[in-house]
């Protein structure tokens, strides 16, 4: 690989993004991994009150899908949303603070893991309702079109969500109105314990795009470049005013659905097999192979991510709790007309 950048076999991401952006992408993937591990650890140590849904193993999908987005562009996320937040440039301290229920958190401790959002970065938020974000994403795309902002919305959802009526209604409206939205299905093969084979009457969810006359493509969701190539094309199409697309990232969550999962619906072998296909290892190798980073630099990136997460956790741990007497603040807008 003498001259990667001109080789036609060079992966899309390498051809398309600057070394700096690629390094940043890998850094974000490390941040997600470390965030999730830190979250898990905090849970084990009893610092977390509720449950959580970890996205370890899905980092390429989150980061790859946001590569061509700016702060003006929007995303809607899911219950498994930490990775999307990080991909959309959230502040890690505020994320952990939210996770710890602190006043300094993104939601001032009111929302928790399932509701982290950062509107300033175009992140309209995680969502506790499976499929809940789909029509909201379409609404954001409607705003963009109507207000002429040029913004695109990337709507994350899971394979399980694809069986919600909201999926159907949302894709249909987006297509009828030719809205600038990209539906990114993170197909990790299970909605909780229920495999797509037992829940979904089609082999690949991307096949359902045809029911809305929109392009649909399935890619290896653990291959950063493949994700980027597919989503970037869909984002570009949306920006050109040609309407929505559906991209299906095949991926896998290493951990159980949430903390109550006994992992009875899948085998250890299957999990091990997918852990072999670690998206971060693959991305690291890609960048090393293309001489964008050395092994040592990869290690340094990982360590830096670990440090940031430690600091984020420290920030969160040291942050104040919300005041009890303010429990009902922000239900309505203060000083509103009525």
């Amino acid at each position: 690989m003498a001259d990667a950048a001109t080789d036609t076999n060079t992966p899309y991401a390498i051809r398309t993004y600057s070394p700096q952006r690629l390094k940043d992408a890998l850094h974000k993937m490390f941040l997600i991994r470390k965030f999730e591990e830190g979250a898990e650890d905090s849970y084990t140590r009893g610092l977390i009150h509720g449950t959580m849904h970890l996205s370890i193993g899905q980092e390429a999908s989150a980061v790859g899908s946001c590569m061509s987005l700016s702060d003006e562009d929007k995303i809607t996320s899911t219950h498994r949303g930490h990775g999307h937040c990080v991909a959309k440039d959230a502040d890690l301290g505020k994320m952990f603070a939210e996770f710890f229920g602190k006043e300094t958190g993104y939601c001032k401790g009111r929302g928790g893991s399932m509701h982290i959002a950062d509107p300033s970065r175009g992140n309209l938020g995680a969502n506790g309702i499976v499929g809940g974000g789909l029509p909201i994403a379409v609404g954001a795309a409607l705003s963009a079109k109507r207000l002429g902002t040029g913004a695109v919305t990337v709507c994350f959802f899971g394979d399980g969500a694809n069986n919600e009526g909201a999926f159907h209604e949302s894709l249909n409206m987006a297509a009828v109105w030719k809205l600038p939205v990209v539906f990114v299905c993170e197909n990790n093969r299970y909605g909780m314990s229920t495999s797509t084979a037992r829940s979904t009457a089609v082999k690949q969810i991307a096949e359902r795009a045809a029911a809305y006359s929109m392009p649909g493509v399935t890619v290896d969701g653990n291959d950063f470049s493949a994700v980027t190539e597919a989503v970037d094309a869909a984002v570009a199409r949306a920006r050109r005013g040609e309407g929505p697309s559906l991209v299906e990232n095949m991926t896998y969550r290493w951990r159980g659905h949430s903390k109550s999962d006994r992992n009875r619906y899948r085998t250890k072998e299957e999990i091990a097999e997918w852990m072999e296909r670690d998206p971060i290892v693959a991305m690291s190798k890609l960048l090393v192979d293309h001489k964008i980073l050395t092994e040592a630099e990869v290690g340094a990136l990982e360590e830096d991510a670990a440090r940031i997460i430690r600091e984020a956790i420290d920030f969160a741990a040291a942050s104040p709790d919300p005041k009890i007497e303010e429990a009902t603040r922000d239900v309505y807008t203060e000083g509103a007309a009525a």
Binding site: H115, N127, P135, G139, A140, S143, G165
Partner: protein, 336 residues
């Protein structure tokens, strides 16, 4: 007759008043859009949007597919990102399909996000019985939404109020749900021209009286007023309060009236059990006005059944003027 007098005399139907409010909003604020099923060329199932699509085009008066959940969610997303949608359910009954987006998203997202966003969304719900459309097209479900923090819920009873409350709702940064009784659409009344707002959260005393308070909502306000006219000459002087807003409820106006009269009847069309009147009654019973009560608090609400098709049955299952008369006489004469 000078211009001003003419203005003051101007009468519009309730539906026309809504349309005028939407017209004013569309004309003055680019961010306002209308969404709903068949609100464009059809003019809306109850002809409320009428010809607005001709004036503002299909980009701003948008026919949605028959997708209540998705449509409501699109409106929520649009409201979160710069637009001010006015979303029409064709019948309030179909809101049952969209409760997820109304309750889990629109009502909660501001709070869940620690106040970093707001949802300037207006939803309109043609409600109530009396059209012979039976159980799935005649419900009064305002109590459901009245139970949901984060929403404001209004039930204007006059053309003037519905215009003013719709315009107030549009100025409100939070989601406002407007229940419009279908039987009111054709009712005429005075409507001021131009832009004005009617406050959300304030009840109106429609008739002052000293013997007995009736708190009524929506169409029932008119039935209560009719009853009051009959009762006056009988020596029962009824104060009729139009609640107007279900959430937040105007405690003070209601309590002040009860302190004065010592007797209360709540009249509402929704199913009696856990309907709006339950809250009015409980609000009074837990207040200092309790000490002024001379008799039990009477509720006249809808019967404990779905709305039947047959017109006589349909009338029988919601409060009518004679029911109010009976209750008021019994109450005033100490028979309760």
């Amino acid at each position: 007759m000078n211009a001003q007098t003419r203005t003051e005399m101007r009468e519009l139907s309730y539906a026309e008043a809504i349309r005028e409010a939407m017209d004013i909003a569309l004309a003055s604020d680019d961010r306002v859009i209308l969404m709903g099923e068949d609100i464009g060329v059809y003019g809306g199932a109850f002809q409320v949007t009428g010809d607005l699509v001709e004036k503002y085009g299909t980009d701003r008066v948008m026919d949605t597919p028959i997708s209540e959940l998705g449509g409501a969610g699109v409106a929520v997303g649009a409201a979160l990102t710069g637009l001010k949608p006015i979303f029409e359910f064709q019948f309030s009954d179909f809101a049952a399909l969209a409760m997820e987006q109304i309750v889990n998203q629109a009502a909660k997202v501001r709070y869940m996000l620690g106040g970093s966003v707001s949802v300037p969304l207006v939803m309109r719900f043609p409600a109530g019985s009396g059209t012979g459309a039976a159980a799935q097209h005649s419900q009064s479900i305002e109590a459901w939404l009245g139970h949901v923090p984060g929403l404001k819920v209004v039930q204007p009873s006059t053309p003037e109020d519905v215009k003013g409350m719709l315009l107030a709702a549009l100025e409100d940064p939070d989601p406002v749900m407007i229940f419009e009784h279908k039987i009111l659409y054709k009712m005429k009344g005075h409507v001021p021209e131009g832009h004005y707002t009617t406050p959300i959260g304030k009840a109106a005393i429609r008739r002052a009286g000293k013997d007995l308070t009736i708190v009524a909502t929506s169409l029932m306000v008119h039935k209560a007023l009719a009853a009051a006219e009959t009762l006056g000459p009988e020596g029962i002087d009824v104060e009729v309060i139009d609640l107007r807003t279900i959430r937040p409820m105007d405690r003070e106006t209601v309590l002040a009236s009860v302190r004065k009269t010592g007797r209360l009847i709540c009249v509402y069309e929704g199913v009696k059990t856990l309907g709006v009147g339950a809250e009015i009654s409980a609000m009074v019973a837990e207040s200092d006005a309790f000490d002024f009560l001379d008799a039990p608090i009477v509720r006249l609400g809808g019967a404990e059944c779905p709305i039947p098709y047959n017109p006589e049955l349909e009338k029988a299952v919601v409060p009518q003027v004679p029911d109010i008369l009976d209750a008021a006489r019994n109450l005033a004469e100490g028979r309760i």
